[in-house]
């Protein structure tokens, strides 16, 4: 069986729009941005985006479990570096979060046979530069 890899490609560190997400993953947390006034998710966040003009962007803790919406096993990577193949990607809908989907990579047992509807759990992968919020399949 081919070993499933995980891309190692550090996120930019100088962008306020994305920094809170990566600060949280370093602590083992998962956060998504929402309108501070009405709670509507702002994913992906856009500069100045506001359903309420006086509101701020609030990064809220979200569940560490979810369901696979779609997936692909990448055999030919296009990243400038750090993407040895194969690796398995998925769009995950997190429990209790309606709307946003998280792009993630699937690791561990079952990654190679992932299917739409599979339950997955946060299983971070630590690199020297960042902690990638990867997920693994929850055995049923």
């Amino acid at each position: 069986m081919t070993e499933i890899r995980v891309p190692n490609f550090a996120p930019p560190t100088n962008l306020p729009l994305i920094a809170p997400f990566w600060d949280a993953t370093a602590e083992g947390r998962l956060v998504l941005p929402a309108c501070s006034q009405c709670g509507e998710w702002q994913w992906y966040p856009v500069e100045g985006q506001a359903c309420h003009p006086d509101a701020t962007r609030e990064w809220r803790d979200v569940a560490h479990t979810g369901t696979v919406f779609t997936h692909t096993r990448v055999e030919r990577g296009f990243l400038p570096s750090g993407s040895e193949t194969p690796y398995v990607l998925a769009l995950v809908e997190l429990d209790g979060v309606v709307g946003p989907r998280l792009v993630t990579a699937i690791v561990g047992e079952g990654a190679d046979t992932i299917a739409i509807g599979d339950r997955v759990r946060l299983t971070p992968t630590k690199f020297a530069t960042h902690t990638l919020p990867t997920f693994s399949v929850v055995a049923t």
Binding site: W22, T72, V74, G99
Partner: protein, 382 residues
């Protein structure tokens, strides 16, 4: 003040050779394609007075200088590539009907084989750099693979049946002078094609091309006095979905719904035709899946039935509903949308030789650019 006539036509098309790793500049390629389109129309370069760079680059100043033309009107459509090239005809028409320009040149060239490829612009997007690239979610094949996976799941489609799209494209390319990829492809060859990102194989992905393309738009009245039969722009629809380009590939509530469900009805309404009146189509095929989704949204097949529609050679040479009759982006060349517009014009003018359709009166052209889309109905002058 005179009232400008209504109705516009494409009267000239031009293109360069398409290949990987061209040693020429984009400006140089576009200049050659522009001269070819203007000559095809039977115009002199100095008669061009409107310039529309279909996408961002390059600006019109140097091109106008090189052609010896004076710019009375310059504008960019502002839509993403494949939608911009098809939608540019609307900008041209607005300028012509407003009396701001007489002969409008639409042009686009790219060097897809340059370092970083067609993916590189995505790396400049904060959301993609921040929330996608670190996972390896990068490069169009990955996004469209995830779409295809969901589509096959939702509608019970066997991914192997996408072979019909790639095989038809290659068969058309074999009949098309200038096509970049003409090596024969059958279903077995498709299934042997290397997997890029499941379920998309190499044969499901468009070519990488360096080249230039251009077309000339003028009023229908003037078109009738020029040397070639006019390709009438009977209807145009442009659409932007309520998603940013960053989010469209992963966050759209219905992941496989495109802007063509908005642009196509607009184009049909203006042209006064419906899908059953269309003889053939040129549909943006950056991947086989994107062609299928638009085929459905343009009304040629029901939702989820696009792949079944294409079986048994239906869209291939000799088939009942020809699609991408030069091989499209899968096998002819990848200059987003432009290859489709140019082929539509050549078919309705009846000049396609071995690939000429017996009936080529009404063509639907569909151009996808991420969150944007444009549909154009091109007809013979009836």
């Amino acid at each position: 003040m005179s009232v400008a006539p209504r109705g516009t036509a494409i009267v000239g098309v031009g293109e360069t050779e398409f290949k990987r790793r061209s040693d020429r500049t984009i400006d140089d390629l576009i200049l050659e394609a522009s001269r070819a389109a203007i000559a095809d129309a039977g115009l002199e370069p100095g008669e061009i007075d409107g310039f529309i760079p279909a996408v961002e680059h390059p600006n019109a100043d140097q091109l106008a200088l090189a052609l010896g033309a004076t710019r009375a009107f310059t504008s960019k459509p502002g839509y993403v590539a494949g939608a911009g090239t098809v939608g540019a005809v609307l900008t041209a028409r607005l300028a012509i009907e407003a009396g701001l320009a007489t002969n409008v040149l639409v042009y686009f060239g790219m060097k897809g084989s340059d370092e970083g490829g067609p993916y590189s612009y995505h790396a400049e997007d904060p959301a993609k750099a921040g929330f996608e690239m670190p996972f390896g979610w990068y490069g169009q094949p990955v996004y469209f693979a995830a779409w295809a996976q969901r589509y096959c799941h939702d509608y019970g489609v066997d991914p192997d049946d996408f072979a019909s799209v790639a095989v038809a494209a290659r068969a058309w390319a074999a009949l098309s002078p200038g096509a970049q990829k003409t090596t024969p492809l059958d279903t077995a060859g498709y299934l042997a094609s290397p997997m890029i990102a499941t379920p998309l194989r190499s044969a499901d992905c468009c070519l990488i091309s360096d080249g230039g393309t251009a077309y000339v738009v003028t009023s229908l009245e003037r078109a009738r006095s020029l040397r070639r039969p006019p390709a009438v722009v009977a209807g145009v629809g442009v659409a932007s979905t309520n998603q940013t380009l960053s989010a469209i590939f992963s966050q759209n509530p219905d992941l496989t719904m495109l802007g063509s469900h908005i642009s196509a009805p607009k184009a049909y309404r203006e042209a006064g035709v419906g899908p059953s009146d269309v003889d053939f189509a040129q549909i943006y095929d950056c991947f086989s899946i994107s062609m299928i989704l638009q085929l459905e949204e343009l009304g040629f097949a029901a939702r989820g039935e696009g792949v079944a529609f294409c079986q048994d050679g239906r869209i291939a040479p000799g088939g009942a509903f020809p699609v991408n009759t030069n091989g499209g982006h899968l096998s002819y060349a990848y200059i987003p949308g432009m290859n489709h517009v140019i082929e539509a014009v050549r078919q309705v003018r009846g000049e396609r030789g071995d690939a000429q359709l017996a009936r080529a009166e009404v063509c639907a052209v569909a151009g996808l650019g991420g969150n944007d889309h444009a549909t154009m109905i091109v007809t013979a002058d009836r």
